[in-house]
């Protein structure tokens, strides 16, 4: 599914964060959204997945305007810190994600995804028992089990050390590729650029590249 963002404008009070953001991400395409801290990356991602309503502009995924239902069914999201529901173990988190996304659980897919991300041995662990790297991999698994068409990650590596950063980025790229999903990663860490074919720059409320 193609993601098309056009003419997004967003202000918090008098502060204009996004001025006129437009971008297109083809089906299966992978891109890095690079911008300084406070440049509006998180705001833009929120708008893209329908969590925030922009002042102007439109977002469509596969020619459909994005809203709660579209996000639920087609978009997998990974945040920097909010990874898993704290009361449930890793496996239960994944099953819950599936149920919320499309009403059914697919345990085989859950186990396969845990295996793919190399955390099947931690399936029964509660979120607070996981290391940073494990938690981030679990969050990626959570986003993947719903078979998304678009995978969005907001600073997925900022809590990780250098080694883990590279591993997790590789994982995201590989997972998105094998799932046939487009991938958009927001970060201020320009070390990741080498792993991506396309880099978008967010500056002064506009996206270039």
């Amino acid at each position: 599914m193609q993601l098309e963002v056009s003419g997004i404008g967003l202000s918090y009070g008098d502060t204009r964060v996004l001025r006129d953001v437009s971008l297109v991400l083809d089906s299966g395409e992978q891109a890095l959204l690079l911008g300084a801290s406070g440049s509006g990356k998180s705001s833009l991602l929120n708008v893209i997945c329908g969590l925030q309503t922009p002042d102007s502009g439109t977002v469509t995924l596969g020619d459909q305007p994005v809203h709660d239902g579209v996000r639920k069914a087609h978009i997998g999201i990974i945040f920097q810190t909010l990874r898993l529901v704290s009361a449930l173990n890793v496996r239960a988190n994944l099953l819950l994600a599936q149920r919320l996304a499309n009403g059914v659980q697919n345990a085989a897919k859950v186990d396969e995804t845990l295996e793919q991300l190399g955390i099947n041995h931690r399936a029964k662990a509660r979120p607070f028992e996981l290391s940073q790297g494990e938690a981030q991999r679990a969050a990626i698994a959570r986003a993947l089990v719903v078979s998304p068409k678009l995978l969005i990650a907001d600073e997925p590596t900022s809590a990780l050390d250098k080694g883990n950063t590279k591993v997790v980025a590789e994982m995201l790229i590989e997972a998105a590729r094998s799932a046939g999903a487009s991938l958009l990663i927001a970060t201020h860490d320009d070390r990741l650029t080498s792993q991506f074919g396309r880099t978008l720059m967010l500056e002064n409320g506009k996206v270039t590249g």
């Binding site: 810190t81 909010l82 529901v85 449930l88 239960a92 919320l100």
Partner: protein, 419 residues
């Protein structure tokens, strides 16, 4: 969503346990009160059913009712035997049951009476026959159960009303013979031993030959017995006296004339069971009311504890809830999770309290026979209990309402921006 609510409850076991415990205790108290009030009321009404008036020696009317209907207090004294015939000859009276009390067998009261007693309580025999000859006795179902007495078994009465086994006061010279066992009736008769009035006199060595001759005659005159009303019947009277009479009216006008007649013409007193029972229940209700208010306050505290716990949770779990929303949960679903938590905690508390209360009644009942005497049964839920459990669950839902509303308003984007 239920599994999620359960997971959250399990996630803070101490708080949950405390909330559940608070509600369980209050529900247990309320169930106990309901049970006690209801069963006591039922029992009082069942035992007094069919008896419009009790005639006995002067004294406290409540004591007279307690001793002659509920068989739990000392009698007020004795009344002359001819009073029975006098009342029976009254056209406004349909039935008079004579009672001659004074002895017990292993704590079960021996009641000297006649065939009208069984009529009055609609008693039926499970085995054997009615008492007929001298020293024959019919025992209540619980008496048979607890003493293991069987047909043909002989037993010796002890003087007084408490269990007096081995205190040397047994009437060894006059053993009773069990000729019948009553079917359970749910009345005080289950715990009584019925025999003839004459047998009770025989035990105490009271001569009654001259009475037996004209048993059926209504106009015999026995001057010796009319003035013999001893203040306490456990001092054996040497006269062929009775302890009390249970009177059933033939018509409504009797309610005015018969008590007036008894009180005016004799040195006996007439007590109305309905009035004394009502007075008893009033006393009972007043004390129950006080505890009930306390128990509901406790339930409210339980609700408040759930409220505070959920409010804290709503704040501490904002991130989780925002994530749920991002994953596709609707605001209603998130709202429902919180309500469910309150409802589940309250329901577990209510059910635990309910089971606890009934188990407690069962345990206490098996330990103390007096409670069984009062008619407390363990697993007989009364209608108020369903309401009680629902009310407590409603408290849980109500306590969850404000935290749930807060959670409902969560804006995931804002929470994400903050974290």
């Amino acid at each position: 969503m239920i599994s999620l609510a359960l997971a959250y409850l399990r996630d803070r076991p101490l708080t949950t346990a405390l909330n559940v415990l608070l509600l369980a205790i209050s529900v247990a108290m309320l169930v106990l009160l309901l049970q006690f009030g209801e069963q006591a009321r039922e029992r009082l009404e069942r035992d007094a059913a069919g008896v419009d008036l009790v005639v006995g020696a002067k004294g406290s009317p409540l004591q007279l009712i307690l001793s002659s209907i509920f068989h739990i207090d000392q009698p007020t004294g004795n009344i002359p035997h001819n009073s029975l015939d006098r009342l029976r000859s009254n056209p406004a009276v349909s039935r008079v049951v004579p009672l001659a009390l004074g002895d017990n067998f292993r704590g079960f009261r021996i009641v000297g009476t006649d065939a009208t007693f069984a009529q009055s309580y609609s008693l039926e025999l499970a085995e054997g026959a009615q008492f007929d000859g001298p020293m024959q006795a019919v025992i209540g179902s619980r008496v048979a159960e607890e003493t293991g007495a069987q047909l043909g078994q002989r037993f010796i009465g002890n003087h007084g009303f408490a269990n007096g086994n081995g205190d040397g006061q047994g009437h060894d010279h006059a053993p009773f013979e069990t000729v019948g066992i009553l079917a359970p009736s749910g009345t005080v008769a289950d715990r009584l031993i019925l025999t003839s009035v004459e047998s009770v006199w025989d035990v105490h060595g009271i001569s009654h030959d001259h009475l037996e001759e004209d048993q059926e005659s209504h106009d015999h005159d026995n001057g010796e017995t009319t003035n013999a009303s001893a203040p306490q019947s456990h001092i054996p009277s040497l006269e062929p006296d009775l302890t009390a009479l249970l009177v059933t009216y033939r018509n409504a006008s009797a309610a005015i004339r018969v008590p007036a007649m008894v009180n005016r013409l004799t040195e006996m007193q007439a007590a109305v069971p309905a009035i004394e029972t009502a007075r008893l229940l009033e006393l009972l209700d007043a004390s129950i009311e006080g505890i009930r208010v306390f128990a509901w306050l406790l339930a409210a505290t339980g609700g408040l504890a759930i409220f505070v716990a959920l409010l804290n949770m709503a704040r501490g779990r904002e991130g989780d809830l925002a994530l749920l929303r991002v994953m596709g949960a609707s605001p209603i679903q998130v709202f429902a999770t919180v309500i469910l938590e309150g409802v589940i905690a309250a329901a577990v508390g209510a059910v635990a309290g309910w089971i606890g209360a009934h188990a407690l009644i069962g345990i206490v009942r098996s330990q103390f026979a007096t409670l069984t005497d009062l008619g407390l049964t363990a697993w007989a839920p009364v209608s108020g209990e369903a309401f009680l459990i629902l009310a407590v669950i409603a408290i849980g839902a109500l306590a969850a309402l404000i935290p749930a509303a807060q959670v409902y308003r969560i804006d995931p984007a804002r929470v994400l921006a903050r974290s």
